[in-house]
Structure formats: structure tokens, C-alpha cells
């Protein structure tokens, strides 16, 4: 049975909209506890990852400062990885471009020391020359995904998406290929699932963390304050499909609370989640998901 954790807290932001780091760390720790049974990072992190190998944290910074993975969210996760046995130099926080990373508040670091933060467009990173062809996908992968890292965390923002329905953990990997614009037809179905099923992602993906501290539940993926809710949660799972399924249900709940039609009614239900289940990538059936909710 797949396990999905929702750890939630109130007042994650202070009046200046700064994230309370202490609370955030607690959310992560509780999430890891529920996933592994270990309360401290020294045990929980090695239970999920090989701490001797490089790990990538794929974040989502496409939509600017207001609705991107904030630096505190990824760096807090990186801190726990370090406490769990990773060396700083083996952690890479990354996305498509340095411009988007900087716009989201990141300070780039490509040096040997410290946690690395850079985009695929950093010289001389780039994309692989050869195409990876799999099912409906024909793309060049970021060299970071194929060569630099051995294991991957998708640390995605939870957003409504005008074309895909929602964007969460699996669709976050659109940022690892050179031609994501070619995969938005038919509500991104089957493209999101097919992309996740490619070897560079499926074999390396270890954990989905969906940042639902603020959820854009309508008119995404751009930021619109009117339809953004400070939800104060992280959704964590080793099952990428189950994590996205719960993310989707979270968006539907928020939409209902705000009197909005469901995504199905708007004809943009994220069908790719079911497709991913059919490909054997995980579970999209609530009756087979062990959903653990904790309010802190």
C-alpha cells in the first residue's frame, strides 16, 4: 500500500511573509518520521537515500518569487539531508535556468564547496545531445538529471494548471527536458506519465515533496493572490503517483471551498495521474493509499 503524508501547520508565514524555518523543519522531520519510522535524520535519511551518492533536488521556479519553491523550503530539506549523512557538495538544488532561480531568490553556487545551486543553462551543463525516446517522449535531458546526480527528489509547488489540471511532483520534471512546450496538449496526458517513465527519471526518483505551503488553486500556473491559499502543508511520499493524486484532491477541496467548479467540470482533470498508475508508476486510488495527516 502506498503511503502519503500530509504534515500541516498554522502560521507558517510571519507578517512579512517569511517562512518560519523552525516550523518548516518540524514539518519535514515529521514527514520523514511517518515515511520511515525514524524520528531523527541520521536514521530517516539513509533509510530513503544512499548518502554516499549525489542527490538532486529538482525545484520549480518558473513562476517567479510569489509561487516558486522558496529558498528556505529547499535549503531546509538540504539541511536535513546533511544531518542525515550527505556531504554538502553532493547536494544539487536545480531547475531549468539561472535566471529563474535568481528571480525566485536563489543565490547560485557552482563551486566545489557547499550546496550547489544552478540551472541547466549554466555553462557548461546544458542538455544531452542525444534524444531520449520513450513512448510519446522524444527529448534531450538536462545533463544534471542524466549524469550529475544518482538520485532525485522532486520538490514541487502545488498549483492549478490551465492546461494540465494541476502541476505537482511528476510534472515538475518537465523542467528536466529541453522541449516541455511540446507536451501540453490533451491536458498533458500521457506526456507527464510517459516522461516520468523514462529511465533518467524513473530510476533516479526517490521522493516527492509537494510544497503546499501556499497553493495556487485556480488560474495557475501563474500567481494570482486572489486564488492562492496559505495552506501550510507539505505532502510527502515515495510514491510519485499517490503524492500527485493527493495534491490533486487538495486542490479540488480548496476549489470547492471557494465555490469553484471541479477540474473535471472545467474539462481539465489531470488524467495523466491515472495514466501514470496504468504504467505501474504508483497508485492513484484512495482506497489503496495509506493517507497520514498530522497537524502540528
Amino acid at each position: 500500500m502506498s503511503k502519503v503524508i500530509i504534515v500541516k501547520t498554522k502560521n507558517i508565514y510571519n507578517v512579512h511573509r517569511d517562512i518560519n524555518t523552525e516550523k518548516l523543519t518540524t514539518l519535514y522531520q515529521r514527514g520523514f518520521y511517518w515515511l520511515t519510522g525514524f524520528k531523527d535524520s541520521k536514521n530517516s535519511i539513509p533509510a530513503l537515500f544512499n548518502t554516499a551518492k549525489k542527490i538532486g533536488i529538482k525545484i520549480n521556479t518558473i513562476a517567479g518569487k510569489n509561487i516558486s519553491t522558496r529558498p528556505k523550503v529547499s535549503l531546509s530539506l538540504a539541511d536535513l539531508l546533511i544531518k542525515g549523512g550527505f556531504q554538502q557538495k553532493d547536494i544539487i538544488i536545480w531547475d531549468r535556468t539561472n535566471r529563474e532561480l535568481k528571480d525566485a531568490g536563489y543565490r547560485l553556487n557552482m563551486s566545489q564547496k557547499g550546496i550547489k545551486i544552478f540551472g541547466t543553462d549554466s555553462n557548461p551543463i546544458g542538455y544531452n545531445k542525444n534524444l531520449t525516446i520513450h513512448r510519446s517522449i522524444g527529448s534531450r535531458f538536462s545533463y544534471i538529471q542524466t549524469n550529475t546526480i544518482s538520485q532525485s527528489i522532486s520538490l514541487a509547488i502545488l498549483k492549478d494548471h490551465g492546461l494540465a489540471g494541476i502541476t505537482a511532483g511528476m510534472k515538475n520534471y518537465y523542467g528536466s527536458i529541453h522541449n516541455p512546450n511540446k507536451y501540453h496538449d490533451f491536458n498533458c496526458n500521457p506526456f507527464v506519465a510517459d516522461l516520468f517513465d523514462t529511465a533518467p527519471i524513473r530510476k533516479k526518483h526517490k521522493l516527492t515533496v509537494i510544497d503546499a505551503l501556499t497553493v495556487q488553486f485556480h488560474k495557475g500556473p501563474a500567481y494570482h493572490s486572489r486564488w492562492a491559499e496559505d495552506y501550510g502543508a507539505l505532502i510527502m511520499s515515495t510514491d510519485p503517483v499517490a503524492a500527485d493524486y493527493i495534491g490533486w484532491q487538495t486542490i479540488e477541496t480548496l476549489r470547492k471551498e471557494h465555490g469553484l467548479p471541479s477540474l473535471k467540470q472545467e474539462e481539465r482533470e489531470p488524467k495523466y495521474i491515472k495514466t501514470a498508475e496504468q504504467l505501474g508508476l504508483g497508485c492513484a486510488d484512495l482506497t489503496h493509499i495509506n493517507l497520514i495527516k498530522e497537524e502540528i
Binding site: A63, G138, H178, N179, A222
Partner: protein, 373 residues
Amino acid sequence: MKRRNFLKFSAALGITPKKRLIPLTSDLYAFTSDSNLSKVEARYYKKLSHREVECLLCPRFCKLGDKERGYCGVRENMGGTYYTLVYGKACAVHVDPIEKKPLFHFLPKTMALSIATAGCNVNCKFCQNWEISQVRPEQITHIDLPPESVVKTAQKNNCPSIAYTYSEPMIFFEYMYDTSLEARKKGIKNVVITGAHVNPEPFTDLLEVVDGVKIDLKAFNQDFYTNYVRGELQPVLDAIVAASQSQVWLEIVYLVIPTLNDKTSEIREMCRWIMKEIGPEVPLHFSRFYPSYLMKNLPPTPISTLEKLRNTALEEGLHYVYIGNIPAHEAENTYCPNCGKIIVKRMGYLIEQINIEKGRCVFCGHKIPGLWS
């Protein structure tokens, strides 16, 4: 094209990149700086509420939120205004024989300055130029080449025409349109090599400023367009008819892919449509497919298939039916439909003889459609 060759070629054409380009390693495609992309407001779009826009350039009608790009990858919504990122950003610049386009009835034996930017609004699985058409502009080397510089480069290289080609020129519409206007002022002609997956309004506007159009008709059924092109057939047919009704010279190319779009019955249907909508005088080229991009599992088109399809087209009454991508094939030549003699003898891109004077066959005086001088 490798960066070194691109720069060498650019230098030979008298073009110098204004900015130093990022060195590329041998097996990776690095970016050029995205700050070097253009930010010119796009034409043909509609502003919607909540900073959304709807692109009206092509039949995809991409509806985009803030910071999103269209399917083409080269037009972006920035805060509710839609911009082209490739205006004046040429990623390929060559001097080609016009026959390479192919345009066989348009200024034969002349050279065309041929330019492209990154991007395309379809995703043909058999694309021959996918390394520029299926990437975003920041993912390949490009140079600053504004419209005036394109025209000067054409003049410098004695090119009587400029060809917008290689990728899909409709996605760099603004650049192509402005360059065409500039070229006309200097007496240089403009030709567009396109899949014509475009909406009627922009296409009609374009026809006002260009002189020749070669349209790739990729199949004559929607299923093929859905599965292998990711586009719509009807807009392409509409564009063919629109071009044929304009003053612009039109030729049609049909890439024949074994087992996928090579049925004689379909070709016959297509030729009947051409005869009905346009008439017998539009040149039709059947091109040989070679494995490429996402379609490497099929062999090159058998020559016999191309010959059979050509015969079908001739049977249906088309006058000028060619076979392409097979140098020295007799169907590269133009034959007078009246006396049957060779009036343009070709060997690949070389022209060995032209037996046309003042637009007429020198042997029998039959009028041959096209722009011959």
C-alpha cells in the same frame, strides 16, 4: 550545424556576432544567454483577463498564463503582453540554390539567402531540421541579424531572394514580415518555406509582402497530422488555396514516408483535390524520406514508390510533378506539358539547361508558369 561551422559560415557571409558566444563542449548543447533574446511584441494575439493571452497566429490557439510560452517555444506571455523572443535572432544563415527549397519555377539557377530562427509550431516525428526547429531559442547559438542586416547580407552575396526556411518561419512571423518589407524596398524577393500551419489572417497578410511560397503538405488525412505532425490538416489546405488565389508563386512538397502516407489512393485523392481547387499548373514535388529525429525505424522511401506516385499525379492531370532527394533522377527535370521536351534540365541543385524564354517553351512556345527571370 556545429557552432564552429556556423561562425565560419557567418563570417564568410560577412556577418559578425555582436556578442561572444558561449563555448560549447563537444557532446553538450549549452545555452546562449537568454538575456540576448528579443522582446518585441507579437502580432496576432488577444489579451484575456488575469494576465492571460491567446495566440492567434496558428491553429493551436495557445492560451497562456503569465510567464508561459506557446507550443512553438519562441513566443512568451510576460505579464499579459505577448512577445516574440526571436525577432532578429537568426540561428541558421546560408546561401542556398533556390532549387534546394525546392522551388523549381522560381528564379532558377539563382541563390537565396536562407535564414531561420529556433522553434516550430508542430512536432513532426520525421523532422530533418529538428536540432533547430524543436528547441527553444536560448538552447542554440544565434546571432543578431535584424531585417536591414538580412537584406544587406543578401545584397552582399548577390542573392536575388531571401528564403525563410529550415525551421517553421510562421513562428518568426514578425521578423519575416519586416524583413520582407525591407527586402522589397531593395528589389529583393521573398520566399517562404513552410508547413503552413497558420491562421488565415496572418497568412493573408504575409502573402501581401512575399513572392513565393513552398508549402509542405505532409499527408492528405487528419490522422497522420494528429499522430505524426501534431497539427491540423484543414488549415494547411486552406493556406494552399489562399496562396494559389494570390499573386504569390506556389509549389507543394509531399514527403513520402513508407507505409505511413504513401497509399496511391490517398495520393490520387490529393491530386484530385489539387486539380479541383488550384488546377494542373502548380508544381508538386514528391520527396524521398530519410530516417531522422523520432522516426529512425523506417527505411528511406523506395524509388519505385516515388515513381508510382508521380505517375498517379500525372494521370490525374497535374503538369509539373517532380521527384526530390534523388539527385539525377529524370523526374528532377521540367518537361513541357505540350511538346514533352525537357525545358529545365537539373542534376541535383545544378541547372544544366534552361529552354525557357520569356516564360515560354523554346521548342513549342507553350507558356510555362513561374517566375523565370
